[in-house]
Amino acid sequence: MIATVVKLIVRRLLAAIPILLIVSALLFCVLRLLPVDPAAMSLPPTATIEEVEAKRREMGLDKPLPQQYLIWLSDALHGDFGRSIALRREAGSLVAATLPATIELALCAMVIAAMLGLGGGLLLFHLRGSVFEPVADLVSVLLLSIPEFLWGLILLFVFGVALQLMPFTGEVSPGLPIPHITGFLLLDSLLIGRFDVFLSACQHLILPAVALGLAFSPTIMRVLRSSLFDVYHEDYIEQARLRGLSEGHILLGHALKNAALPTLTLAGVQFGILFSGTLLVELIYSYPGMGNLMVDAVRNADLPLIQAIGLTYCIVVLVINTVVDSLYVVLNPKLRVR
């Protein structure tokens, strides 16, 4: 079973490579067409035109665009994404240093979105036909319309500023050490046995993760509700009722299992979108992940870094979507190929 799953995922990931190549080529072209000269930017402003020209040759910028792309691609395949112009460090290592924080945030947000989505979906379904249904419906539409950027700001205002319950800047309180073992702060703080750091990291993670989770839960909520509606048209629900099972048992024991599948697929697709949504909440909460690195790179027009981060986001989203697709096939017996 596991072997087939792995085989499926690998096959799908291989199929995603052409898309990735096109995406990276597009990214490369867009960034090269910009009116920004990476050679001039990596030299001090006093550099002469000859020095800039020499730097351009050294960086390979005098070669035709397709050749430049191939050089960049072969470097990238060897793990070399070039050097950040502004930060003067390897772009690859900068990405590697910030990616774990972003993944941690995205995972927490996904768990929160799933829990809220499940609870909300069941509640919406439970309210069907009651007087509260139009109200719940309107509320879910309103919730659906608030993007993570606004949730981030609203939560920051309410819990950070007005009630002063939660910290809203950085990933731990100032003064606490930040361990670097795996890069995942929650894990690292436990590994070194510092529960105060762990607690502080959790506190700092809550608002950004909830903001992101809130933005994505309504979609899950509404899909769960509509798939529950579909499931309740099936005969086995009526049969279960005839067997004298309680409504609660039917809902949780029979209907939910069958309604979970479409919801799960959607949750997976959402996870891809959610991952790129981390950029905005990271920005709002000054959370030191890849999103803030990207925004800094963009502000400095730091092309090698933008390229590396942009590609990383695309790869992660592509991988998530591919894995979810494969899992869907595995979980759904109807789609299983013999």
Partner: protein, 284 residues
């Protein structure tokens, strides 16, 4: 268009239109509504609270920001920026996306394949990342923000509309139009477009909400409209730094964005129901 008129009876649509009309009025009559010039700095009274709070100045009904600029005036002028972006970005994305969708769905075959793959590649870029990268190249400015949103969001229209066009094109009356000697262009404009119009209108109102948020995000990052042009995102970025001194400055632009986005989404939802448009639940 009776269906459109019918949708005016829906309370959702009416409430939403009322809200949008209010915001649009702020945008259009900004120069006469705003008590001050939004760029005027009064460094003698910075970060004053709203007029009703302790230490408030009746001269500045909603207080001032970190440079002593009138918050109310900046909010009103910010509405102008937001509405301009919402209007032109969604129209632009609609034009590009729907032309490609109609061509793709109507002709099918190789054209459809090429446009379909283009949409796939485009959509594998997360929208936020793509718009940030585009802004690096385009530089700041209202027109650049609009262009960036059009370049990112045409796919939303293209993908949803294409499947609708595909369904409409299979109807007998489209074939009948071709048999009557209509050119392809005439068939698309006179027979297909009217059938896809309800979906198009719904999508535009949803896209307007997205455009308002994207503009706020880009201005928040400092890559939106120029620094001389007031925008809600800028106000938030500014207030974020002085959040303890003047929480109002943070709350007010958040509220402004919230109300605008809610209004457009409520309109979209109301239109979707009354025009009976099939839209995927994931259509964020």
């Amino acid at each position: 268009m009776p269906a459109i008129l019918r949708s005016l009876r829906s309370p959702r649509v009416l409430i939403a239109l009322g809200m949008i009309l209010g915001i649009a009025c702020c945008a259009v009559f900004a120069s006469s509504l705003a008590p001050h010039d939004p760029g005027d700095q009064n460094l003698l009274s910075i970060l004053t609270p709203p007029a009703w709070a302790d230490g408030g100045d009746p001269n500045y009904p909603l207080g001032t920001d970190s440079l002593g600029r009138c918050v109310l005036s900046r909010l009103i002028y910010g509405a102008r920026t937001a509405m301009l972006v919402a209007l032109f970005a969604s129209l632009g994305a609609m034009i590009v996306g729907s032309i490609l969708a109609h061509v793709s769905g109507y002709f099918g075959g190789a054209v459809d394949w090429i446009i379909g793959r283009m949409v796939d590649v485009w959509m594998s870029f997360p929208p936020v990342i793509l718009s940030l990268i585009l802004m690096v190249g385009l530089g700041v400015g209202l027109d650049k923000v609009i262009l960036a949103i059009v370049l990112v969001d045409w796919t939303r229209f293209c993908r949803v509309l294409r499947s609708e066009v595909l369904i409409v094109t299979r109807h007998d009356y489209v074939a009948a139009a071709r048999l009557l000697g209509f050119t392809h262009w005439q068939t698309i404009v006179r027979e297909v477009l009217p059938a896809t119009l309800p979906l198009l209108i719904t999508l535009i109102s949803l896209e307007m909400a997205i455009a308002v948020v994207v503009e706020a995000i880009l201005s928040f990052v400092g890559l939106g409209v120029g620094a001389d042009q007031p925008a809600w995102g800028q106000m938030i970025a500014d207030a974020r730094q002085y959040v303890y001194q003047s929480p109002w400055n943070l709350l007010l632009p958040i509220l402004a964005i919230f109300l605008t986005v809610t209004a457009f989404n409520l309109l979209g939802d109301g239109l979707r129901r009354t025009l009976d448009v099939r839209l995927a639940e994931t259509g964020r």
